[in-house]
Assembly symmetry: C2
Homo-oligomer: 418 residues x 2
């Protein structure tokens, strides 16, 4: 198979399909989502047996048990996928409304309309769920999508792609509006990333390695999600009880998520909070690594934090702790070591909080709340295609709006420029 | 001089200055703009004599008269520049407000705050005015900027840069917040485009050649303005008087601007408008090139439009005219040949207008108005750094908002995720 030619053909078909989806009404797009749900339910047997083939191949090739778990589909996971389609169908129409209309001195009315981006290229690993989740969000926002999952999930993704095509056809939308790349060769990714004429935005989802590779190769804008090295700063004016609760939750509520706290910064004047907090963290199974001052403040910290710790996303039960002088030193530390993802300040001092909210340059900046809230569902977006650590187009948790663009709408009544 | 090292040093200094500007209050930034105005007024003599050196060199090297005119500064043009600084200072603060706050079911308040992008890299040609205009917009939005003008304007830009630095210093902002690249070697542009660690957005302004070169070389996101192949479509339900007025204005009000109409599409059922309209265009000095059907409708059209005409931005007194069946054929023509800049429909049929406004995928889509309105000032943006023909981040005329990013703001009262 000529991979380059295959990908160009998919791109061309996606571009043509995108125009039809963009012009379709929201009822038709919602109908497609509900028909995809029906098609998924009808083909559960084929999907689970395709998934079993992937799992067998994965076990045979010695795939990591954690990856095998992410690869696995079962009745419960398909329930979630099917329910998700109905949820996306129930979300408000994200495109086509004219908003922010203002009458100008010339007499014209200038407003704004959200429109689809066009064609999204989705590149992801292991979890076949993403095939359906990403397709549903892209279609809801009026886009076409090309889905390139991991080679280890090729049979699952192909089976899911067939159900998606069936649903699209039943709603009389072009099946090319959501295409699963049928080849496992990595050259397909290279081809995808070098077709700016057919693809408007690339969304990589997976480990840091995948995203760095995609960012390096892409000639197309990408919605990039790199590390989440998130900080909680306990200010000198923090309420100790809130600080304890937030720090514990930000670290221990889940370890493997990008919005989990990796470094705790404590103002010297509030270091008294540390002994109890460290005890609670250690009881929860967290290894605490501290700077010299924090080890003095809490003797239960027995591991020194090395320079590398401040720049590490542990994604596990490890926490680095640093004593700082004040909010300025905390913000300087975050600017130096943070990853622009999510940071939170705990303080009862409103002006200190305002400075932190304003000056910390991250996708989400919080006051008296756990970093674990940085999530599209918690923010009321109804869905999440990813979390962007870039500053352009979309930043922080990205829902349907990040899959759209905006255009100016001008209405006159024969108006001309003088 | 080691150009690479010079540029890296400028980038590093800009990054550090950007943090200070971002944290500054709007009063301080406005004060800087007004002090730059004073410094410009104080150094008019030096600026005009530096400009005279550029003009002499330009004349000696046989620079095109049109380019010499764009290069020239004089008292009137400096008046405009100085007045522009006061106007930008008077614009509302574009950053730092918390908006769109909503209370979530978890109890947290989620809102949004506009923040500066960081460091802008501005790459432009001939007109030294851009040095001051771009610096004022970048500073107002809380950014630092590196300004790389054309080699033909190096003395003018250096003199303007000195006045900008004086103004910044008087307002106690770092002079590195707006730096003029001191070398004319083209390697400086290459270095600028490959420093994503120091520059957040590149804004090229100039001819198509410049922008295509920048787009090809850049490792940084760019706010790209390519061709403006703008269309007016006169629908079968158009009011003939409005159609005549809008088409004439869209073509003849100014020829060299990107929002000038280059192709006129006319529904077959309204072709009767053509004889008078063509006569008026020709009287204004426009060469009209037509398809076979339009030449039949208006015998005064004596030049055949070739295939290449539909894809040409004339930037001059030439217009191509095509008869189409209906709005569908018009939209298909625009999708094929347009440049996603600005298109307008003339019709009294509301549902045809709605389809055109929704389905035409351009930065500005208009109804019963001249394409010449596509402009930051006409849209009430108060200023314009450029017009984007890309779909991500900013689209259409770009004012201060396009020089900002957005972050999520979360406020709780000790809230943790369950």
């Amino acid at each position: 198979m000529d991979i380059q030619a295959t990908m160009v053909e998919m791109g061309r078909a996606a571009r043509a399909a995108a125009r039809i989806v963009a012009a379709s009404g929201v009822e038709q797009r919602n109908e497609a989502l509900l028909q995809i749900r029906v098609a998924l339910a009808d083909s559960r047997e084929q999907i689970l047996s395709a998934n079993e083939r992937d799992l067998e191949a994965g076990r045979a090739s010695g795939l990591d048990p954690a990856l095998l778990d992410r690869l696995a589909l079962n009745a419960a996971r398909l329930d979630v996928l099917e329910e998700g389609l109905s949820q996306v169908a129930a979300l408000p129409e994200p495109i086509g409304h004219i908003t922010d209309v203002r009458r100008m001195p010339s007499g014209i009315d200038v407003g704004s309309m959200r429109v689809p981006l066009g064609v999204i290229g989705m590149i992801y690993e292991s979890r076949p769920n993403v095939t359906v989740e990403a397709a549903s969000l892209c279609l809801k926002a009026g886009n076409a999508v090309i889905l390139r999952g991991g080679s280890e999930a090729i049979h699952s993704n192909t089976a899911l792609g067939e159900a998606i095509a069936t649903g699209l056809a039943r709603a009389e939308l072009p099946v090319q509006a959501a295409q699963v790349v049928p080849v496992v060769d990595r050259a397909a990714v290279g081809a995808l990333l070098t077709m700016p004429e057919y693809i408007d935005l690339v969304v990589p989802r997976g480990g840091k390695g995948l995203i760095e590779r995609v960012a390096a190769e892409s000639q197309i804008a990408i919605l990039k999600h790199l590390d989440g090295i998130c900080h909680v700063y306990i200010d000198v004016d923090a309420d100790p009880e809130k600080a304890h609760r937030i720090a514990l939750n930000a670290k221990t509520q889940r370890y493997g998520t990008c919005n989990t706290m990796e470094t705790l910064l404590v103002a010297r004047g509030r270091a008294g909070i540390l002994p109890d907090l460290v005890a609670a963290l250690q009881e929860a199974g967290v290894e605490v690594r501290g700077c010299a001052a924090s080890r003095q403040a809490a003797s239960a910290i027995v591991v020194d934090a090395a320079e590398a710790d401040w720049a590490t996303e542990y994604l596990g039960p490890i926490l680095s702790v640093k004593i700082v002088e004040d909010v300025d030193e905390a913000m300087a530390h975050i600017a130096r070591y943070g990853s622009d993802h999510t940071e939170s300040i705990v303080t009862e001092n409103a002006s200190t909080a305002d400075r932190f909210l304003r000056e910390v340059d991250s996708g989400s900046v919080m006051h008296n709340a756990s970093t674990r809230f940085a999530d599209g569902f918690e923010y009321g977006l109804g869905a999440e295609i990813g979390i962007s650590t870039g500053k352009l187009h979309a930043r922080g948790p990205v829902g349907l709006e990040g899959l759209t663009s905006r255009k100016y709408i001008v209405r006159g009544d024969g108006h001309i420029r003088q």
